[in-house]
């Protein structure tokens, strides 16, 4: 089996009295798409923020590629190859599409060998991979939502990540657009990148994920193959509400 890249070991995180993550353990392997699902407020976004270092954990450990990164600041995690995308695309508005992507290359995993010039060249290539070459010189404000999503993926890819945590990359897209983004995600997986995809759209995640982890009230409710997990009575309960005793 492929090597474990990202691992959370009994991670805890509270905000005041709200226990957002309670002893969550999770593994993501190379070349695998793990779907992370759960109702609103189940801790999905917190999990991403903790893994990428935006929040410090209250307990537990985070390992990446055999390194304990629990105390690493966000930029050092990024340099190791741990990348994320945002639910609402967050481009650098001052820069055009190409320079947005170049930023990923310039500060990514191979940052030391890169210069602004070489980063721009690399950015061109990544824009082409995601079908954005036509808008390379455009201001980001002129891009459509789908283009901004793809741009965000291109920016992250340019950093040569080993794992990407993707937060609701399909939200707000039409079926055809979502298909294009999913195609891009599969392409990325086949490059050997580990993907943790947070998604609300069950249909999409069934088609995309190799494995699904269900979060509920800050705990891992269950995990396994998509078909098994989505048939699980407890998962249905979590989504529809009510307690398992009435099942």
């Amino acid at each position: 089996m492929a090597e474990v890249l990202l691992e959370l070991r009994e991670v805890r995180k509270s905000f005041g009295g709200v226990r957002a993550l309670q002893d969550v353990s999770l593994q993501v392997r190379e070349g695998e798409i793990v779907g992370l699902i759960g109702p609103n407020g189940s801790g999905k976004s917190t999990l991403i923020n903790v893994a990428t270092g935006y929040y410090a954990v209250d307990g537990g450990e985070i390992w990446f590629d055999g390194v304990n990164i629990t105390r690493f600041p966000p930029h050092r995690r990024a340099r190791l190859g741990l990348a994320r995308t945002y639910q609402h695309p967050r481009p650098f508005w001052q820069l055009n599409a190409q320079d947005n992507v170049a930023m990923g290359d310039l500060f990514g995993r191979n940052a030391r060998e890169r210069t602004p010039e070489s980063a721009r060249t690399a950015a061109r290539q990544w824009l082409a991979v995601l079908g954005l070459e036509a808008v390379a010189e455009e201001a980001v404000s002129a891009l459509t939502l789908q283009e901004r999503r793809l741009l965000e993926l291109a920016r992250v890819l340019a950093s040569h990540p080993r794992a990407i945590l993707a937060d609701e990359v399909l939200a707000g897209l039409t079926v055809a657009e979502a298909e294009r983004v999913m195609e891009a995600l599969r392409k990325i997986r086949d490059m050997g990148v580990a993907l943790l995809v947070v998604e609300h759209n069950i249909k999409a995640i069934r088609a995309l994920a190799d494995r699904i982890v269900v979060l509920h009230e800050g705990r891992v409710l269950t995990e396994g193959l998509p078909e098994q997990v989505l048939q699980d009575v407890r998962v249905r309960q979590a989504y529809l509400g009510g307690s398992p005793h009435h099942a």
């Binding site: 945002y86 310039l106 500060f107 950093s159």
Partner: protein
């Protein structure tokens, strides 16, 4: 090819500026031209210093007076109280201001993650605190001011000539720093921080180190320029040094000139200094402030990215229009510097009118593209 041409143009400008004192002396022109240009170099250095942290990284500061004042007082105290040679004293002023900047950075960026209006207020508070400290500590000033002795300069240069060359040197150091930072990895990181610091961090930008670097560089440049300026002021007083004039003018220059580019402060300092200098004659003081305020309002609302961002497209034409204004003013027998200020004003007005007649708002462009995308 264009790279070579650019370097040629830069070398030409530098050589031209180096020759100005010789020409002024040979033609018997008033020495005030040199003073006028010295002040331009001074403002370029101060504005570029501000732009590094406030323009590139978007950390708006009201504390330019702290860095500038650190340089002025660092140099003045060393020269007057300890007889330190002025060259060394100026460098010490730069180091002192870099240290003050770094201290502000450690407190605001590390201990408390401050940005936005609070950062602006913290920098202002530091400047006010320094004002009060200098005013109340006898060793630093004690409210009496520091008169500097008459210094003798190398090669038999007059103080005006020496200040011109030294000011030019400091201005060039500042612009080179702004230019180099703009182009290198540091500048890219600062732009990312400006637009979205959290995203920058998650992409691998070492945000703390980069902000500290920009702030320390900003302090060093302002201190260097301030230290030299102590020699120009000759009689240093806390009320003048720590007044709001420096921070406000520096902000105005960068906003007018453009905060996202190294050229912004160079252009903005030229416009603001030329107009300000000509409008500060007797009886014009208040009028000058009103007019500068109006100019700032017009430019901010019509050219929010600043003048420099429009120069690539319209710089040549605007330059010609400005030269036309200068020519007409000279033909009307106005003094050269008055005519220059008029030429600059005409060029700015041209840019404002020209840009606003022919561009559509960005919303219209994006709509067109969305329609196209929907069709395709």
């Amino acid at each position: 090819m264009s790279e070579v041409r650019n370097w040629g143009a830069i070398a030409g400008v530098v050589v031209g500026l180096l020759l100005v004192p010789t020409v002024v002396r040979a033609l018997g022109l008033p020495a005030y031209y040199l003073v006028f240009l010295y002040f331009y170099f001074f403002w370029v250095a101060q504005a570029t210093s501000w732009n590094l942290i406030s323009g590139y990284a978007g950390y708006f500061s009201f504390g330019q007076g702290a860095f500038y004042g650190g340089g002025v007082y660092g140099a003045a105290v060393l020269i007057d109280r300890h007889g330190v040679p002025y060259g060394l004293a100026i460098l010490a002023g730069a180091v002192l201001s870099a240290l003050i900047a770094s201290a502000i950075g450690v407190v605001t960026f590390r201990l408390r993650q401050i940005r936005g209006p609070v950062f602006a207020l913290v920098t202002l508070a530091v400047a006010l605190a320094m004002h009060s400290l200098v005013n109340n500590v006898g060793y630093l000033d004690g409210g009496r001011g520091i008169p500097l002795p008459k210094l003798s300069y190398p090669f038999g240069l007059s103080d005006v000539e020496f200040l011109y060359y030294a000011g030019l040197g400091v201005g060039l150091v500042a612009v080179a720093t702004g230019w180099w930072t703009y182009r290198n990895r540091h500048g890219w990181g600062l732009r990312a921080i400006h637009d979205d610091e959290r995203v920058a961090e998650s992409l691998g930008v070492p945000t703390f180190a980069y902000k500290m670097g920009a702030l320390a560089l900003s302090g060093a440049l302002a201190g260097l320029s301030g230290g030299l300026h102590a020699l120009q002021i000759r009689y240093v007083t806390a009320d003048a040094v720590f007044s709001l004039r420096v921070p406000l003018l520096v902000i105005m220059m960068c906003v007018l000139g453009g905060r996202h580019h190294w050229l912004g402060p160079v252009v903005g300092a030229g416009v603001v200094h030329a107009l300000n200098d000509r409008l500060s004659g007797p009886g014009l003081g208040n009028f000058s402030e009103v007019l500068m305020g109006l100019l700032l309002m017009v430019v901010v609302t019509t050219l929010p990215e600043g003048i420099s961002s429009h120069l690539r497209q319209r710089g040549r034409t605007a330059g010609l229009v400005g030269l036309g204004g200068l020519g007409i003013a000279l033909a009307a027998r106005l003094a050269f510097l008055d005519a220059l200020a008029i030429g600059i004003a005409v060029a700015v007005v041209f840019l404002v009118l020209r840009t606003h007649r022919f561009t559509l708002g960005p919303w219209q462009r994006s709509k067109t593209r969305e329609v196209e995308a929907a069709r395709g």
